[in-house]
Amino acid sequence: MGAGHSHQLYVRGHSPVHRLPPHCKITAVLCFVLVVVATPREALWAFGAYAALLAAVAATARVRPGFLLRRLLIEVPFVAFAVLMPFVAEGEQVRVLGLSLSESGLWGAWNILAKGTLGVAASVLLAATTELRDLLLGLQRLRLPPLLVQIASFMIRYGDVITDEMRRMRVARESRGFTARGVRHWGVLAKTAGALFIRSYERGERVHLAMLSRGYTGTMPVIDDVRATRAQWTYAAALPLAALAVCLTGRTLT
């Protein structure tokens, strides 16, 4: 791609992982996650092997470990529940550092934490090596309903436009001496939100008009056709297949 700005999740690069067609990568990540979820939680070493596989992908894609770990923080609010489980779950109790914890709770927490982290890490790698636009092309290629792809691509296009409109409305509010303090001002904020909704709706109508004027008939024309060669599919399949081998070994051993 040219000199365009990209999303903050994306790491510019020309690694073999970056060059893979997007639909191959999406499929690979999805299969990898399914395999991870299907792994018995007691096979501790298997999760270590998965992490090593992802580390290898990150190294190939030249994504720095620091970047990956920072992006993983997004997971924190979601795993809060997992941390609670050992304290609230029923069943046999074990003593760890002077605390009485439920054994099944500990396993449950480990299960969520390990599988969740691996899934998020795989997604972060996907986002780091694929432009948002390409992700959408990939999804389109994978036969996601076109309407959903269109909605998502308009979201990308108009997100900034609407944020900017919101910022201008805030500036206009504050220029007339308004600052939101407490419940009494919520009404004003709600009206702003309503006005923003109407403006966006009207913009939607104008955009539709512009689309009709250029020959839109309900489906987006194909502009970039992404295709993958057999070699690219094989390359992308390396991750989920390696994970599958680990999973099957784990299942037979436990």
């Binding site: 000199a3 636009r133 308009f154 913009r203 104008r206 955009v207 689309m211 004027s213 020959g215």
Partner: protein
Amino acid sequence: MTPPSLEVSGLAFAYPDGHQALFGVDLTVGRGERVALLGPNGAGKTTLVLHLNGILGGGVGSVRVAGLPVDRKHLAEIRRRVGIVFQDPDDQLFMPTVREDVAFGPAAAGLRGAELRARVAEALSRVGMEAFADRPPHHLSFGQRRRVAVATVLAMEPEILVLDEPSSNLDPASRRELADILRSLDVTVLMVTHDLPYALELCPRAVVLSDGVITADGTTQELLCDEELMRAHRLELPFGFDPRSVVVPGR
């Protein structure tokens, strides 16, 4: 003999709420002409523009583009022939990148592959925006977005280019750049504008639309010098601007 680019005859239209916007408009624009459409707010300019490519219709009268009547049967071809550049480029540029946006029209018409790429490259080079093909539109300046908007319709190789307030919100340099581009194009232009000096600069001929009818049609300089006509239709020149003193550049 080639038919005129645009032939509007007896066009009348009322909105579903009963508000009548056009009362019999007659307008012919020859091939290669550049015509300014002037008129006060609420005169029906936008309504007329939306008739040209069949977005609005169902009233009385007829519109022909290069001989082809605007009706349901020919809608796809009509929309290829009439390139409308809307006032807000953020409405016009709806695709994630400039290149895809310019490709949208021709791709909708069935163009693919190398032919499509060539068409996009050509349209972008005509407005001097080749270097920005892979940028998302919202990272461009307003003037650049307006130019890309022009390219999006040029890519369809239209018979007639319809511009809605092309100079609005442009700084003087962008305004001049756009004028240079428009002058360099070999295409029929209908320009809806309040910017009278801009109309004088670019369009040898002007028509005045007022209360839903064409009330004046002549050379732009003549119209702008007719003080009575100007006053009657709420058209005002900017302070200090004297249309008599301007030497109008030729085509």
